[in-house]
């Protein structure tokens, strides 16, 4: 049953020992939609359409707070689509519409009454391509807080430092916060983007392949950072890289062709997937 094609995956699992949360490894779960107090994002038969074609279809899934959930799957399977629906960034794309429900903390995000500003401030996002604004480091981080009317210099200074420390970037940039953000290296820029997302004090952090444009060293730093952040934030991370999913996440959802195939504890997914497709994918037979 255990068919790991990638040797390092063993190490990842061993070292990280997902079991540090006392999970019974032998418990198998068929149903994903277990009602649970801790489900912070709750999708029920959720579909999102680009025009007439569905980006994701009929997703039913709970995402739990203060944990890292990874979404994996071949490209074009709707990982980003699902992630970007949670803070409704998909609205930017014309002709999208949603069906079913997608709740954040019990509030349907596709409800007409949703306060998009508050939603997006509390559901931070980090993108695949590091995309700091062409402003100074300081202004990048202060952008979000300023939107909510934070103007006091001292408060902003404190917040900027806190976020940079939180994103493990402070020591590298503290000398000159007025430097252009574009002058930083790729990994630094991505951490800056994380710091920028932290500055609005989000409860959930969405990360869409945050390391795909980075070299292994920078990737390791980001992963370390995620490890630090997960005690405070609920993190949903889309990744291409299965080792990464194994290393950083507690839960893993496997998407394929717009559908959710399997959702389980990460260790379970990688050691004993229930579905053939999942098995094929993680063992590298397709994808």
């Amino acid at each position: 049953m255990i068919s790991l094609s990638i040797p390092s995956l063993h190490n990842a699992l061993d070292e990280k020992s997902i079991g540090n949360m006392d999970v019974d490894e032998n418990v198998a779960i068929e149903q994903f939609s277990v009602e649970n107090e801790n489900a912070i994002v709750r999708a029920r038969n959720f579909s999102l359409f680009y025009g007439h074609t569905a980006g994701v279809k009929d997703i039913t899934l709970d995402i739990y707070s203060r944990a890292v959930t990874a979404i994996i799957g071949p490209s074009g399977c709707g990982k980003s689509t699902f992630l970007r629906s949670i803070n409704r960034i998909n609205d930017l794309i014309p002709n999208t519409h949603a069906e079913g429900t997608l709740e954040v903390s019990g509030h349907d995000v596709y409800d007409k009454r949703i306060n998009l500003v508050n939603l997006r401030q509390q559901v931070g996002m980090v993108f695949q391509k590091h995309n700091p604004f062409a402003k100074s480091i300081y202004d990048n981080i202060a952008y979000g807080p300023r939107l909510t009317g934070m103007r006091k210099k001292s408060e902003l200074n404190d917040l900027v430092e806190e976020c940079l420390r939180g994103a493990a970037l402070w020591d590298e940039v503290k000398e000159d916060l007025n430097r252009s953000a574009l002058a930083l290296s790729g990994g630094q820029q991505q951490r800056l983007c994380i710091a920028r997302a932290l500055a609005t004090r989000p409860k959930i952090l969405l990360m869409d392949e945050p390391c795909s444009a980075l070299d292994p060293l920078a990737t390791a730093r980001i992963e370390g950072l995620i490890e630090q952040l997960k005690s405070k934030y609920t993190i949903i991370i889309v990744t291409h890289n299965m080792q990464q999913a194994a290393r950083v996440s507690e839960y893993t959802a496997f998407f394929c062709l717009g559908e959710l195939i399997e959702y389980n504890r990460t260790k379970k997914i990688f050691t004993s997937p229930q579905k053939k497709q999942t098995d094929d994918y993680i063992s590298g037979r397709f994808g």
């Binding site: 912070i40 709970d62 007409k112 306060n115 508050n118 409860k203």
Partner: protein, 328 residues
């Protein structure tokens, strides 16, 4: 298979969203209205261009109508005698020579600039190495940047004396002079649009032709240019519009004689265009005289000319874009 909950993390303190995720009805209303108002304001500002076009057409027509009702269109379009300054009823407003003058210089200019421009576009898109193209394109852009009055100045001060001296023309300011200068001015437009459309023709088509043993000339002439013809036509039409609408050059270089050359092909004679007539005469015309309204009728005719040409170029550009999207 037990159905134990996935999550076994002790609940701990619950995650609290400090800011309300739902809008209050008041906020909802304000947000909706302000969004609508903002959109409306932006929309109104954007409509400035529409307003400008309407005003231009409206006012030019308004000033042209008194002439048309008084003198009719037939004479204006068929007679060649343009004696607007004659006393009272003796004044004649035959615009035919002006229209033919415009056509003369425009067509003669296209005769020079279309082959030259097309060849240059082929050179830039298919033949020139990257470096050469990088140098040539800004140079050709400079041609487009030079103000028209500077071209006119060149025509009068340099080209006209030269023509008189070396070609033995009776006057240096003539149809040929204006056409040469206009062709230089139309070149950048034709080149850039034609080059765009030639480059848009895919590499694969070219390669297919080469692989069948065709030479570059054959590929270009038989495959690439036909495939890009909508864009090329659009470019030519745009260049033509530039030539028709050009004022300073023809005013300075064409000699301003309201006549149809005789024999008809003799470009060394002076002619006069619609634009030059307006430019030269409106300044000295009393407001609201017959002559004044006649000049607006000429302006209206110009406006209609360019409007139609604009539609033609739009049509070809749209077709070119559609093709490109299909082939991609």
């Amino acid at each position: 298979m037990t159905s134990e909950p996935l999550n076994t993390i002790p609940p701990g303190e619950p995650v609290v969203f400090t800011q309300p995720l739902y809008l209050s009805p008041g906020e909802d209303l304000v947000g909706y209205i302000s969004d609508l108002a903002g959109r409306f304001i932006l929309f109104m500002i954007t409509c400035a261009s529409v307003l400008a076009v309407l005003l231009i057409f409206g006012f030019v027509i308004r000033e042209a109508v008194p002439f048309i009702t008084k003198h009719g269109v037939i004479d204006f379009l068929t007679s060649t005698s343009w004696f607007p300054q004659a006393e009272g009823a003796k004044a004649e407003f035959g615009g035919l020579a002006l229209i033919t003058g415009t056509l003369y210089v425009t067509i003669a200019a296209l005769f020079i600039s279309v082959p030259l421009g097309l060849l240059a576009a082929v050179f830039l898109s298919d033949i020139a190495p990257f470096k050469v193209r990088q140098i040539c394109k800004p140079i050709i852009e400079i041609l487009a940047a030079i103000p028209s009055v500077a071209y006119g100045f060149f025509a009068v001060m340099v080209l006209a004396p030269w023509m008189q001296k070396h070609l033995g023309f009776t006057t240096g300011t003539n149809a040929l002079n204006a056409s040469i200068i206009l062709s230089i001015m139309a070149l950048p437009t034709i080149i850039s649009v034609a080059e765009d459309s030639l480059s848009a023709v895919g590499r694969d088509i070219r390669e297919a032709s080469y692989s069948l043993g065709a030479t570059r000339a054959e590929t270009t002439i038989k495959i690439v240019i036909p495939a890009a013809h909508s864009g090329i036509i659009a470019g030519v039409v745009l260049g033509m519009m530039r030539a028709i609408g050009e004022t300073m050059v023809v005013w300075m270089a064409s000699g301003n004689a309201s006549q149809i050359p005789h024999p008809w092909w003799d470009l060394s004679q002076s002619i006069r265009t619609m634009t030059a007539t307006i430019a030269g005469e409106l300044g000295e015309t009393p407001r609201d005289s017959d002559h004044y309204h006649a000049l607006f009728a000429v302006g209206l005719l110009l406006l209609v000319f360019t409007f139609v040409l604009n539609m033609v170029s739009e049509f070809f550009l749209a077709r070119f874009k559609r093709r490109r999207e299909v082939t991609r």
